[in-house]
Symmetry: C2
Subunit: 357 residues, 2 copies
């Protein structure tokens, strides 16, 4: 948090607003895994100031929060916006949303999705609305050159996982040739640019290409054949993880969960052709084991945790697995795939796999 | 031409129009390399009938013609629409355009580009306008299952060339990682689906994936880093070829020209890194020769001509090369790349290379 004050973006944006005679009221201090309380505060203050638009300046958490504010401004009470995340209220209007992106990861700058957390309920839920697409998003790769490496890797892993979530809806890659090839193109871009940025964080081309790949990853371009539907089970498992442990960043949680998710299903013979195709196209391998090994190699190379224990920096005990599994089952849904809602024993097995190297 | 009457599409479309109380006036008989005269006839008839929209039912030539009609309906005289193709008039309004696509190739269903031919002037010129985007395009892969194989290959080669035109603006693929990877994904899709369709023209998944890849090929998705600009020199050379020889189909001409275009520049050391990257990613090769050989293998495998002589079914003499080169020089531009307009001697050299196996 607070990076926009250090990297000059805040000054650039506010000067531009002033020069154009646009009044604004600042709300700052959005944390990773953005919290409901901050959103309620922002809605209340925005109503007091009679705001008629929302400008998000930051990364995924800021955008997620601003989408909640844009929707919440059209509701009677600030707290009512949580009903959208519980799927008990459908957004029919929102204030116009504008975006200046400072970290590439969530792809929230090119879609109408938002995630919000309630620490008090241990819930991290999401929803999408066509009313929450940014009117305009400004992306400047140079702004991201000063990001700490762990934040860059979180973004890299998030973009790869978004692309994988769309690909994972498909068991036969031949049915889905265009989507698989474009998805592979996006992931390859992230892998190449990630390795370049690890060597030189200021490489403009790598920042710019990763920035665009991260937007594409969640724009749905690789998901046309599925009508835009993704699997989202890895995201659901991660949102639970962050809900229980709010200090776990989204990208770090995804990195630990994705290889385990693949391993769990591959061992049952589920989507074998897809794992083999991705092993070949991404890592020059042949088997699902090559895909899992390729992803874990990537995480280790980038200094990312590969186990729950490394993620939480302590031993994981049975009670941790039980708590995660039970919290996961509190979700109103565990993915968007109509044909496959992850059952309790599978969620438990996947969390358990995350304990192993 | 006339396929919409055989494959049932005409009946389906006209029944739908009648059921919804939409009056229509039919203009049929659009040929490949669509001619200006037919467009003038259509505009005149559409004005007589007071048409307020244009419905294109067919492939690229029909769409190109219908875009000309949509623009021409807002001009005083039907013939004035040619001024747009000479870059002497800029379109500021057009009738709304709707599309039912019956062959995937030109990508005209997802952009505002149009090409038109004047046999009398030996000119085949194109222009783009945001006013000429279809309001809505309907694509059904099953309609294409009955296409003659040579028409399918024309479409395959056109889609590959469109993607290549965007990639060919770039000399250093590292500057352009996301675009190259997504472009490669599109071309790989076309290669795989083409081989499948050669074995089984009714393979639904291959038709559907090729259909979507062909739309993506000219949607600009792989050209974001170039601001949507492409090279378009291969297209310019082909439009000249079709202008001089109106029986040459666009896709067949592109197939002959593209390998020669690459060879001409590669021999001079122009864009070496790009050719080597594409040789590796598309055909598992290493050198520009591998890229050219891979493309020619593809053409031979699909039964496509690889020389001007095979294309025109006669010996090519010096007078042919001279005529093509001179006609090429009559173009108002020979590509959209501001930094590189193909000079006369280069055009001549490329046409000459097209004579060799």
């Amino acid at each position: 948090g607070g990076s926009v004050f250090k990297n000059g973006v805040y000054t650039t944006v506010t000067q531009s607003l002033k020069e154009n005679g646009i009044k604004f009221h600042l709300v700052s201090g959005v944390r990773a895994n953005p919290e409901f309380g901050k959103v309620c505060q922002a809605i209340t203050e925005a109503k007091e100031h009679g705001c008629n638009g929302v400008l998000a300046v930051g990364g995924g958490s800021v955008l997620d929060s601003c989408k909640a504010v844009a929707a919440g401004m059209c509701l009677d009470k600030a707290e009512d916006v949580w009903q959208c995340y519980e799927f008990k209220h459908i957004v029919t209007e929102a204030l116009p949303l504008f975006c200046v992106l400072t970290i590439s990861a969530t792809g929230s700058e090119v879609n109408g999705g938002t995630v919000l957390q309630r620490d008090d309920l241990r819930k991290k839920f999401s929803f999408k609305s066509p009313h929450l697409y940014p009117v305009c998003s400004c992306l400047d790769p140079e702004v991201q050159a000063g990001l700490p490496w762990y934040q860059t890797t979180n973004g890299l892993v998030d973009a790869i996982t978004h692309t994988m979530e769309f690909l994972m809806t498909c068991s036969d890659p031949k049915e889905y040739e265009a989507g698989v090839n474009m998805g592979v193109g996006i992931i390859r871009t992230v892998l190449t640019c990630g390795d370049t940025l690890q060597r030189d964080e200021k490489d403009y081309a790598a920042r710019a290409n990763f920035m665009w790949a991260a937007s594409c990853a969640l724009s749905g371009i690789a998901a046309i054949r599925t009508g835009g539907l993704g699997d989202w089970a890895v995201h659901s498992l991660e949102h639970t993880l962050s809900a229980v442990h709010p200090t776990v960043s989204h990208g770090a949680g995804l990195g630990v969960l994705m290889p385990s998710y693949i391993q769990h299903h591959a061992q049952k013979g589920d989507r074998t052709a897809l794992w083999e195709r991705l092993a070949k196209d991404l890592f020059g391998g042949e088997t699902w084991q090559d895909l899992v090994a390729g992803l874990k190699d990537m995480l280790k190379r980038w200094g990312h945790p590969t186990t729950l224990s490394a993620l939480l920096d302590r031993e994981i005990v049975e009670a941790d697995i039980a708590q995660l599994t039970e919290t996961f089952m509190m979700r109103p849904f565990s993915g968007y795939r109509e044909d496959k809602v992850l059952p309790k024993d599978e969620a438990e097995a996947i969390y358990r796999l995350c304990c192993k190297e």
